[in-house]
């Protein structure tokens, strides 16, 4: 079992409510270990280990909740 970590930037983060939404909704995906979102830097760090948590599903949920990864 490999623990993976990824840090991304989400420009759409504006306030504490946004970070709360991201932390809760991503945290609910089975297999996701930690989610930390910072409203000042707009950076989100996610760690996960096994499916269904994959980067693919996490990214899809982020798009779904209105906070897609900024490219």
């Amino acid at each position: 079992m490999i623990i993976q970590t990824k840090t991304i930037q989400i420009q759409n983060i504006n306030c504490g409510h946004c970070t709360q939404t991201i932390e809760e909704d991503i945290g609910e995906i089975q297999g996701v270990k930690t989610v930390t979102a910072d409203k000042n830097t707009k950076m989100v760090t996610i760690t996960w280990d096994e499916p269904p948590a994959t980067w693919h599903t996490i990214a899809a949920v982020l798009v779904d909740i209105g906070f897609p990864e900024s490219s």
Partner: protein
């Protein structure tokens, strides 16, 4: 499955993403919620839910879990609640009355009556006990105290007699129940009518478009209105509402702005013109750039203003409250006096029944309704015509004004210079205009812009100027189509026609531009700030209302006089520095009394603040609108007299309401006390006013006051 609707006020939404957070929380994570739409601007959430699966309280706690607050819930409209309780009361009161008319049932009938009256007294009537408790806790006594006291006296007297039959003979369970039923009926009708008084604001809220077609990264997509951000490019097709405030970057059209400004004629719009959210694009395809979204749009601003005005207490309301607070204790005193007087004169039961009648008839609830209902209807009426009262104080004061001070530039006039005269010697007029306007194309001077605009309006095609030269303070020179063109104020005039015309135009306080082509004087162009359409009419209307109209301006006397004469103002104060405008208002206040001021600019703000009722032109600066008590959304001076008319009509309605509410109490209280009893010619019903008849009369009085306020809606301006 039964679907229910609920509207909640959400607090703590800091950005547009929050809207999605709330909606998602409700739709995806709260079973039982069928639909949810949250508006960032109004901070309201409309939620449809299945009542078998979830309660409103569970919905609220779900929202709170997402990190937001719920200001207040409005689960069931008050009218529905009252209706529900009224029908329950009827259900028990009707058999109760039949029982009271059937003495043959004896003791069983009496106990059955107690059983029937319990739900009416303590379920339907519970609101009155709660209301009294709240009021007494604050050291005041309101109408609930009177109702609760009156019906309790009747109820507990009957209960005592039922338990100790030797103490009395008649039971009054049905009287207490009847009073509660009738007053509930009154409350129901009243809240139904009241919800109509707020119709104007509901109409405004309904105007907000739901979605916008936004182009982001070259892709056109429909997004929720709350997700639109400043700087977004939005496409508005003909027949669609413009979603947010912005300006046109492509296309032209006519726009129906009547919902915001009250102006019924559609307005021509072209590139760079500003557009207002919620207005209707009629003909052309428009591309606009958003400048104000969410809470900051004109519409959201209007809704907030109207809500605040309707919620603010008018001074006259304080008077009514004060009167009511003295009124109720006095009436309780009178009621006890009635009890004792009749007790000594006849017997306890008669005294008690009289006392109940007095308590019930005395309810000053018509008094409490008199002012707020009129204010709500009055300010709603104003909003419909593009007149926004920021507080009810202004609504009440406006009709008392003695003097109206009008700012000149931007208020009486359009504030934009336009061409008024074209004088030519023997040169072709169109050609002169074409060459002059082409030369001015390079200029950024307002006078130059006026000439270019005028030429374009005449559909004259312009050429590109060459060798453009601006001579500061004197004019410009350029070569257009091989003609050397000079526009200025220094060239020597040689033709007698031009000399005399120049004198005439200058006497009319117009700015005159001399035009020479190929070193030959060919004509004059006169430019002036023109009077707005309707300004003269507005002044006449104000004079007709008996007001003194004063023009206040920083411009020179000649210009000021020329405009004043055109619109019919006799009193002109010219060459006033911005800081002295305030002093001028003070002077007028000392001399004449209440002064109203109408202005549009930043320089008017101190004067607006000093005046008793200030009105800002809605097309002017934001600071003027922030300062002013009244905003005239349509930049039309004619609305000033309309505002005063609304004030007059509202005050008249309030006074009528107060008069009727008082008159009703003053006449019926003595009758309830039994003053007419000795007049044996009168029908028994009036000689001894029965408590349930008193209850019917008082319900009627509240309803009539609300109906009278609603009449304001049809008042003609």
């Amino acid at each position: 499955m039964s679907e229910q609707q609920i509207t909640l006020s959400i607090t703590g939404m800091t950005c547009v993403n929050c809207v999605r957070s709330v909606e998602r929380r409700l739709l995806k994570k709260t079973p039982g919620v069928i639909a949810a739409s949250v508006n960032f601007a109004t901070e309201k959430a409309n939620i449809t839910y299945a009542s078998e699966q979830i309660t409103p309280d569970e919905i609220i706690s779900a929202i709170k879990k997402a990190g937001f607050g719920v200001a207040h819930k409005d689960v069931v409209p008050t009218a529905t609640k009252h209706a529900h309780k009224f029908w329950i009361a009827v259900l028990f009161t009707l058999p109760l009355m039949l029982l009271s008319m059937s003495p043959e049932l004896g003791r069983y009938g009496d106990w059955l009556m107690l059983l029937m009256s319990l739900p009416v007294q303590f379920y339907v009537g519970w609101d009155f006990y709660v209301g009294s408790w709240k009021s007494l806790k604050n050291g005041t006594a309101n109408m609930d105290v009177l109702v609760a006291l009156g019906t309790s006296v009747a109820f507990f007297y009957s209960l005592t007699v039922l338990l100790f039959p030797t103490w009395g003979e008649h039971l009054y369970f049905e009287t207490a129940a009847m009073i509660i039923t009738l007053i509930k009926l009154g409350k129901w009708l009243e809240s139904r009518a009241k919800s109509q008084t707020g119709a104007a604001i509901k109409k405004l809220m309904g105007l907000t478009p739901k979605t916008a077609k936004v182009i982001r990264d070259g892709v056109e997509s429909d997004i929720l209105i709350d997700a639109v951000i400043v700087g977004d490019i939005i496409i508005v097709r003909p027949g669609e509402k413009i979603p947010v405030d912005g300006f046109i970057i492509k296309g032209q059209s006519t726009v129906d702005e009547s919902m915001i400004t009250g102006e019924s004629l559609a307005v021509q719009k072209q590139i760079n013109d500003t557009v207002i959210g919620a207005t209707l694009n009629k003909q052309g395809l428009l591309k606009i750039k958003a400048t104000k979204v969410g809470k900051n749009t004109t519409l959201a601003h209007i809704i907030r203003l109207v809500q605040e005005a309707q919620g603010s207490h008018a001074p006259i309301q304080h008077l009514a409250d004060k009167v009511a607070s003295v009124f109720v204790p006095i009436l309780i005193g009178l009621a006890f006096f009635t009890l004792f007087a009749w007790w000594i004169g006849t017997d306890f039961t008669t005294g008690m029944i009289r006392m109940v009648a007095v308590l019930v008839i005395a309810c000053p609830c018509a008094l409490g309704l008199a002012t707020p209902t009129a204010i709500i209807v009055g300010s709603g009426k104003g909003a419909e015509h593009g007149i926004l009262f920021k507080n009810s104080d202004a609504l009440e004061q406006a009709h008392k004004l003695k003097v109206i001070v009008l700012d000149k530039t931007g208020t009486i006039t359009t504030g934009k210079p336009t061409i008024t005269d074209l004088i030519v010697t023997d040169y072709n007029q169109t050609k002169m205009l074409r060459l002059a306007a082409s030369a001015e194309r390079g200029s950024e001077h307002p006078l130059g812009e006026a000439i270019v605009k005028y030429a374009l309006k005449q559909k004259i095609s312009l050429s590109e100027p060459q060798d453009f030269q601006a001579i500061s303070g004197e004019g410009i020179a350029a070569t257009v189509d091989k003609h050397s063109v000079v526009l200025g104020n220094k060239q020597t005039l040689d033709s007698p026609l031009l000399i005399s015309e120049l004198k005439r135009l200058q006497s009319e306080a117009k700015t005159v531009i001399r035009v020479s082509i190929n070193h030959q004087m060919v004509g004059l162009i006169a430019v002036a700030d023109t009077v707005k359409q309707g300004s003269a009419e507005a002044v006449t209307a104000l004079h007709r209302l008996g007001l003194k109209v004063v023009m206040l301006t920083g411009d020179n006397q000649a210009t000021a006089d020329a405009i004043a004469q055109e619109v019919g103002i006799q009193h002109v104060v010219a060459s006033v520095l911005p800081k002295d405008k305030c002093t001028q208002i003070k002077r007028l206040q000392e001399e004449y009394g209440l002064v109203g001021m109408v202005g549009d600019g930043i320089n008017d703000a101190p004067a607006l603040a000093q005046s008793d009722v200030s009105m800002a032109i809605g097309t002017g600066t934001d600071i003027a609108m922030e300062t002013a008590d009244v905003t005239l959304m349509r930049g039309d001076l004619r609305t000033v007299s309309q505002a005063i008319n609304i004030s007059k009509a509202t005050l008249r309605t309030i006074k009528q309401n107060l008069f009727w509410a008082f008159a009703y109490n003053m006449t019926l209280i003595p009758i309830a006390m039994g003053i007419l009893y000795p007049f044996t010619d009168l029908p028994m019903m009036i000689r001894t006013l029965h408590p349930s008849l008193a209850a019917a009369a008082m319900a009627l009085s509240s309803v009539s006051v609300v109906m009278n306020s609603l009449r304001l809606k049809n008042h003609r301006l």
